[in-house]
Amino acid sequence: MKIVLDINRQSISLDVPPSETLLESLRVLGYLGVKSGGCVRGECGACTVLMDGKPVNSCMFLTAQAEGHTIETIEQLGEHPEQGWRKTKGLDSIQQAFIDVGAIQCGYCTPAMVLAAKSLLEKNIHPSEGEVREALSGVLCRCTAYVKPVQAVLRAAAKLRGEEVPEIFSSTGGHNLLFDPIPQLPPEEYAGYDQTMLKTGVLPKLKMIQDSDQFRVIGHPEPKVDAMKLVQGKPAFTADLSLPKTLYAQVLHSPVAHAWIKNIDVSKARDFPGVAAVLTWQDIPRVVYSTAGQSDPIPGPLDTFSLDRKVRFVGDRVAFVAAETLEIAKKAISLIEVDYEELPVIVNPEDAMRDGTVVIHEEPEFVNFADSDPSKNLAAEIRIDIGDVEKGLSEADKIFEDVYEVPKVQQAHIEPHVTLTYWDEDDRLVIRTSTQVPFHVRRMLAPVLNLPIKRIRVIKPRIGGGFGGKQEVLIEDVAAHLTIATGRPVFYEMDREEEFIASRSRHPMRIKLRTGVKLDGTITANEMICLSDTGAYGCHALTVAGNTGHKSMALYVGDGNYRQSPNIRFYADVVYTNTPPSGAYRGYGVPQGFWPVERHMEKISRALGLDPLSFRLKNALRPGELHPFSTAWSEGREPKPEIVETIGLEECVNQGKAAIDWDSKFGSEEWHTIPGKPHLRRGVGVAMVMQGTAIPYLDMGGASIKLNDDGTFNLLIGATDLGTGSDTILAQMAAEILGVRTEDIIVYSSDTDFTPFDKGAYASSTTYISGTAVVKAARQVAYLLRKRAVSMFVEMGIEAKLQDVSLVNHMATLPSGENLSLEEISLNSLHHVNQEQIMAVASHMSPVSPPPFAAQFAQVLVDTETGCYEVEKLVMAVDSGVIINPITASGQIEGGMAQALGYGVCEEMVYDEKGRAREKDLVDYHIFRADEMPEMETIFVETYEPSHPFGAKAVAEIPMDGVAPAVGNAILDACGASINDNPVTPEKLWRELKRKS
């Protein structure tokens, strides 16, 4: 049908099928700032446009319905202020505010939020925070916790009102020039520190160590290097590239949880017009592999095939289809007839290892790793004994024992898994994919596709959130097999239901804790017995469970003699069930461990009448002590002893308890009650946590830096920025060494053909591992620059020595004041004398994994009649070493806390007895909206980690660890109800209150 649309004040004539959605049409027309979250009920809002000035989801309208209405997309707003000789009006003030305050992380939902803000500010230039939150309520964001987007809209409103807004970014000043210091504690509490407390609407409080203020770029809230493109909705993501003759892939997913495929009839599908290929297990090579994106050798069983004749969960793969259109592909899927021979189903992990239970993996190709045993449905087994637990328990005055549970939860990145594969002109297979692990994708898929590694190129564009879900080689093989079958480009994007039934998730666990304690609060022994459910395949089975013990059981070593020789046991069985596979999810096993440990510690301290903070700190690991697990476990490899040099935990507790006002709340009956509302009770809770920073002796990242004619640099890295800001952090480190601005570092990541190897974005490693590689490369380049500067100075008749040349402000400078610009040096080196390309490549692997530490606090309001409760405030004080960029780092903490809040409060994936999922969309699987977030506060307590060139440790995963137990402990504090099963739902709380009464 022929229609005319008014898009961005342009009249556009279309001949469009009546069933086409507005989202589809806009993307075909090139309005690629309109993103798809794969949802079918309009719940994510990534596809927001303004229709007659109001934000709507373009997936909920037919294109034909939009005729007669004005449509605005992000492309109508501002653009880069300089387009060569053409000057533009620059960015819109809302877009600029989003960049200024660091409101952009992965950027996938940013255009939608900017448009929603535009709609609000056109009606109301004086919005309250509540009104801003309501305006953003239709756009789900999994990265930011909405903290900075809300601030961005308020800032833009102020600017539009003509008000002065405080400067946030500066490339010249130190911290003190940027922010108003607002001390939160009396000075005497800072004894021994030389620090400044800083606070604005978007920046965290930062308790700095003196050393970190010497830097020009490090420690500064530089804008993200990718912010400009993301705020404009530029075609930066995998789905934004289209190639001629691209086919669309769909997967037939199993409707049953466990069955042999007796017969598949694909004849009707193959014959359907427009279908290019239908593949079943009979059509492709049978190659066993693991989808877990990890280094070689994969530390887990190989138990997966691209397609198999057996299905092991509802959602498992049965067949692949490629067709001319998505509509035809879906139709073809519906035409495939499958005859299943159903088998008994295991949903409960406790049933998996019972004698006589059905075996889920009996394939002869199964490759064991460590102690996996498919005949027992055992994907992995861990047995770690440190010291003598039985002796420690026998020396205890009291033994505390309890069983805890944590649920399966979803990463829920807003950009679904998406990939595009094609043969290039050299007959090499190109995989353009939204992945955290491009180099692992290349290595792991080569045998599956029967291609040598050298004939595969993996390109990672921007990623619309990953959180571990894209540390999986999950769908690249689907498109690749279909490209091999058809010779044509193939595009495959999961929809939201597929994300829930056929993707990966966090391992659910049942954990038994037994702890021996002296009456003075000394822990004498600590034992964790863990049953982990890996679902139908063993991806990350061993390493996630290993991390559960490695981090959560390492924090409390005991005191006195026990501190010297702690008694710790960690046993884990990781079993197969007929549920969707678990995998990597931000935190990687550690949140599962800290739920029981921190709930347990709280109960012990209360039972013994001890202060919960002092009890924890008494037993916690201290600087200079041996990481207790370092001699016992290293992801299935040879362990090596590791000393923990920096621990800011005690100061984190001090700062966090001040921020939440612990001393006036904890133990105060008056504070706990609400006058006139006896059914409401307030409570406050804490959890202390630690994580890791990369995997020692394993994780490696590389970086390459080259000088350009104008004195700028290309930084090529294999590291993958998921929206965390790692590209920016790495550019800042290079800029610091090379004496230039962050914007003079042009970052490119990642492409297996062009960028150095990096194991990928996981294990909180990029700042630490890839960052050190960048620093090493930058130092080599700096050396070459200084060397050339010396020869140029000498040529000019100026005496100069290498050690006297410093690189500052884009110049090589001598103490005498003489200087050469980097542009002069680069022209000299590239064009004038002894020509050479000044460049360097470096890589880094670490022998240690310095843990970040944190104290997390929560305040709740409990309705004791209903079991409902509201989390009113979250505070996190974290020691992540030196903070390279406070604005991106605090964004990590805020976003992590929001995900962790969901873990504690509402997120879980539930299956019925036939393995069918309850949650298939983002309505039933509720993630927090902008208009229901609690107040959040982030405090960084800096330490200087000596194993990193700038003293940094990890920041990305640790916020996941302590929110749920802090909320659980706050509930206990409020009303005495102690819930062992996470998340604490209203009914669980109500039952516990009822049981107690």
């Binding site: 279309l14 009546p18 069933s19 309009g42 239709g138 756009v139 209903t866 039933d924 009914e987």
Partner: protein, 266 residues
Amino acid sequence: MFTKIERRRMNSIYIRPESIESAISSIRDLSGTKKILMGGHYHSESNSDDFVFVDLQALGIDRILTYESQIEYGSMARLQQILEHPNTPESLRDALRIESGQNVRNSLSLAGLIDNADGRSPSLTALLALDPQLEFQPSQQYFPLELYLSNKKDQNFGLFFTKVVIKTPVALAFKSVARTPMDRPILCASVASWQEERIRVSLGGFGEKPCCIYDQYTSNPTASKILENYSPMGDQWASAEYREEMAVVLIKRCLIEIFNHTQEEK
């Protein structure tokens, strides 16, 4: 010059009638599976089917009119429009906010809500307590929402409805239990009260549709009296036992709010 997009088949038909009469004749006369577009449909669910899309947006049935004794919502009024209308009861606004974020509220019409929502819908639960009457076409007869929800496929109602009429003045209370403030309710209750001491109570948060559990002319009923002949069901989201006890708590709270409201009015 028309840019041609061929990602889907052209078999479907889209029409946008400009009068109620032409909408009626389009729905009656055109052959094929009809899909009446009233705002806020989920199109990706119907990817591979052929439809006759009849879009009611041009009928002028999105207005909200207030009269002395009733408020009349056009069936195509969007949820956000209803939320922003000054005469919409505050508790209905609360329910609408929980129903969805602002984007969906800007898309979804009252008719779209009524036709698509299930028993877990907070705003449908609140609406049901208000005992709306729906004006159907072509008969122009009014039927209660409650009756329509009991069998939406009954063709005796007519082809589509154009108005949702609520008798006023009315006091409305809405309470829910949920995992977070904006999550789908596990249980929600709504109580409407009119001047003539009519009390009407609905429960939602489960099942295929919310249900009206009480509708009497009486003063000061108790929660247990209201619930004496009704027990909510259990499902994957909550047990029947929990819902049973919560129903008492929520209805009691609604009644107190209604009572306080009535006292303030006096």
